[in-house]
Symmetry: C2
Subunit: 149 residues, 2 copies
């Protein structure tokens, strides 16, 4: 894999995902969805923590969280131990909704990505993507919420 291939591949993957996201949630910025996904998988977090995990700039996370709260998808509270920190809390209903969504419209973008892949190889590819995702995320020291149904 060449460096340009890596860049290109990354662009295509996020492009396909982005197209799907825009279809399902028109008018919602991608950064908001990424932040929501991050919040769903983690314990209540400060702006800085979210920025570190997602890789977005602090200013971007700050505005994204503001929009998320405006949408009623999460709440912000003051950290009782450090009043300066804004802790973003996502209600469990959102986690449940997210899980429900996964089961219905999961296939679409992955079908597109795997269209030209040998069917017998598809599970291995998906598994590799998941591992890669988890490993990269781990690099940002995230704490995964074991989200018991």
């Amino acid at each position: 894999v060449k460096v340009t291939e890596l860049i290109w591949l990354g662009q295509q993957l996020s492009r396909v995902g982005r197209t799907e996201a825009v279809r399902n949630a028109p008018g919602v910025a991608i950064a908001e969805l990424i932040v929501m996904g991050d919040l769903i998988d983690n314990t209540p977090s400060s702006i800085t923590e979210i920025a570190e995990r997602t890789g977005y700039a602090q200013s971007r996370v700050s505005t994204a969280v503001a929009q998320i709260v405006e949408r009623g998808w999460a709440e912000t509270r003051s950290d009782p131990e450090d009043g300066r920190r804004t802790v973003v809390v996502v209600p469990d209903e959102m986690r449940a909704a997210s899980r429900a969504y996964q089961q219905t419209s999961q296939p679409r973008p992955f079908e597109e990505i795997l269209a030209n892949v040998d069917p017998s190889r598809r599970p291995a590819i998906m598994e590799a993507l998941q591992e890669l995702h988890d490993a990269l995320r781990q690099g940002s020291s995230s704490v995964v919420v074991e989200d018991g149904d």
Copy 2:
């Protein structure tokens, strides 16, 4: 893999690659490098063909090619069969230089990506990325040049 995870993963992959590319080729736009990589792997192509394969907008490819030619990395010729078409030709020396480059500085960005991956799984992950790349590219009907040394 959730849709937001797909988008995030894609962003990280291209971000890591982009950082490496900027380090090695400061002042060169990413789109130029992607187009160069595309040209190296394909027979001489028109602007439209490059745009279809890379997924970049026609206007972006047009300006990127202009800059590439200015750098002396490729030449444009008129298609003898259709004077309207601009055929972009990359000299074999560039292919050789690209290959030489692969062998030297290949490791860097992939080290970073695979840092938190179980070492025994790394070959499988890299293989999966290559397959995925080739499959997605195939979707844009590219003609790979068998680049005999």
